[in-house]
């Protein structure tokens, strides 16, 4: 659906985006993650055609942004970091304007009404945008992106400045939108991306540093693959029994943690999942398993690890 190839953006001598490539399939929700100034917004601005790339190409639905800019723009609904609202218009006037601007073909009144109900702004429909609260402004911004029902939605930090209740509402909304849209959203808030996205692309200093499914990204990127198991039984026998398992590389005893219960660190091959085998083994010998956890990095650890390289150089770019 969206294909980005070797995207590079220079601001003078400053490299904001450096050789970023990825492909996003239709109907997925992808999170752009990175610290402030990492190049998330710049990348999004290039995909939407607001900025042009210094090098590289963006293709949406097989159409290149340079060859058919207007065709590509029709396919994308964009909520920039700061919602592009005209403060001197009412919500109704503004959405009518956007409808005309995007040359939408849906029946006007019904289409706008549906969107207003979806993002819950129907109660402020007749009010001046300048008088709305930050949360409502953000929602009008999302409504604006939805007009014309574009298949691709690009949302730049959609929940910034909202209160916790609104954040949950907007997240639910984005998840629902993800059922029939391709959604790209950016955030520097990890739990948000974790809660909403199926896939995460981590950008730091303009470079793509990680890309993978939300559930497995942390596991795949962890350097070591160890399990900590706590079980009740004779220490030495348990150790030998576990070492004898096919997929296990090494087992270390970590000592007695509870009366009669011992902890072991079980190291496995990277691609192997040994948890079922371990459980079966313990059941066979009648050693109750009291705890089993893996030591994969949490996304939080991973994020810090990926982005803790020198960020001083990343000045411009996140606007």
């Amino acid at each position: 659906m969206v294909e980005v190839r070797n995207l590079t953006k220079r601001y003078g001598a400053n490299l904001a985006v450096d050789q970023v490539s990825f492909t996003i399939e239709e109907g997925s929700i992808v999170g752009f993650l990175g610290p402030n100034g990492a190049g998330k917004s710049t990348t999004m601005n290039i995909i939407t055609g607001y900025l042009s790339a210094s090098e590289g190409s963006v293709t949406v639905s097989g159409k290149n942004t340079l060859d058919d800019p207007n065709e590509v723009k029709k396919l994308i609904g964009y909520l920039p970091e700061q919602p592009p609202l005209y403060l001197d218009m009412t919500v109704k006037e503004y959405l009518d304007f956007v409808y005309e601007l995007k040359k939408a073909s849906q029946p006007k009144k019904q289409h706008i009404e549906e969107i207003c109900q979806l993002v819950k702004i129907d109660n402020v429909y007749g009010r001046l945008i300048g008088n709305l609260s930050k949360g409502y402004k953000q929602r009008v911004g999302i409504a604006q992106a939805l007009i014309g029902n574009p298949p691709v939605l690009i949302l730049d930090e959609p929940t910034v400045g909202l209160d916790p209740k609104q954040i949950i509402e907007i997240r639910t909304l984005i998840k629902n939108l993800g059922r029939n849209h391709t959604v790209i959203l950016s955030s520097h808030i990890l739990p948000e991306v974790q809660a909403v996205c199926e896939r995460i692309i981590v950008i730091n200093n303009g470079r793509l540093v990680a890309d993978g499914a939300t559930d497995t990204l942390a596991h795949d990127l962890s350097q070591d693959h160890r399990l900590i198991i706590r079980a009740e039984g004779p220490e030495r026998e348990m150790l030998h029994a576990m070492e004898a398992l096919e997929k296990v590389k090494e087992v270390h005893a970590l000592g007695e943690k509870e009366p009669g219960a011992y902890e072991f660190s079980v190291e496995t091959q990277p691609e192997e999942d040994v948890r079922r085998d371990l459980f079966a083994l313990m059941v066979r010998h009648g050693w109750p398993v009291l705890g089993l956890k893996n030591t994969d990095l949490t996304l939080e650890d991973l994020f810090l690890q990926l982005t803790s390289t020198d960020t001083a150089a990343a000045g411009k770019g996140d606007n």
């Binding site: 607001y50 900025l51 042009s52 207007n70 994308i76 592009p84 005209y86 403060l87 001197d88 601007l101």
Partner: protein, 235 residues
């Protein structure tokens, strides 16, 4: 283009700026027509009304154009325009036309005193319409320059002062031409002069070269503004 034009035009009248500009020009037109009445002959209309209004219009136009491109950059609303399926030229044309319609409204209101006069007298409509068309043409050219200048900055004040400076320069450029001794340079300056082109119309004549000149100025500056908008994508 249509959507942008309508939005821009509406924004002039959701703030006082559109009303103020139109009110000032309409009041001045009324005042100078009153002077004509005082002189007692409609032959004074070109010299008393339109010659003075040339200068006043030049002063009001910067106010009309100052916010056309600056606001979008400042409020980041250019993001919705530039990511919508419309070309940059359509964006600029929409904004240019909105400014022009405000000026057109004011100038057309300026015809009202002449209409009132014609109920009890017979002013020379050929002359009046010639002046009116001339006003619209140099106004349009000046507006295109104003829109271009407003695209160079995010500050309304700088846009207004810049456009104001250019309009003052254009008002006095023929004086400049007469004081230049070099014939070629003088001819060039003379050729640029808006008031020379405009004066043809004040005599009640319709001049095709002047029409082409003013339309070309509009086209060039709309084009330059569009390029300016486009160039920001690459910076």
């Amino acid at each position: 283009m249509n959507a942008i034009f309508k939005r821009e035009l509406r924004s002039y009248f959701s703030s006082p700026i559109g009303y103020v500009c139109i009110a000032i020009l309409a009041a001045l037109y009324g005042f100078f027509y009153f002077m004509v009445m005082a002189y007692g002959s409609s032959s004074y209309i070109p010299s008393v009304v339109y010659n003075t209004m040339f200068s006043f219009s030049m002063l009001v136009i910067p106010i009309i154009t100052m916010r056309s491109m600056t606001d979008d950059q400042k409020n980041k609303t250019d993001q919705i325009l530039l990511t919508a399926p419309v070309g940059v030229t359509a964006i600029v044309l929409g904004k240019f036309l909105a400014c022009f319609v405000v000026f057109f409204g004011a100038s057309t209101l300026g015809l009202l005193p002449a209409v009132a006069m014609s109920t009890f007298s017979s002013p020379s409509w050929g002359e009046i319409l010639g002046n009116y068309i001339g006003t619209l043409l140099y106004g349009g050219a000046m507006i295109s320059i104003g829109v271009f200048i407003s695209s160079l900055t995010v500050s309304q004040i700088i846009a207004a002062i810049g456009t104001f400076a250019v309009s003052v320069l254009l008002m006095f450029i023929d004086n400049l031409a007469s004081s230049i001794s070099n014939a070629a340079a003088s001819a060039v300056v003379d050729w640029i002069s808006f008031s020379n082109r405009y004066n043809v119309f004040t005599r009640g004549l319709f001049s095709v070269p002047s029409l082409v000149f003013f339309l070309s100025v509009m086209a060039v500056f709309v084009f330059l503004t569009a390029r300016r908008l486009e160039s920001r994508r690459w910076s």
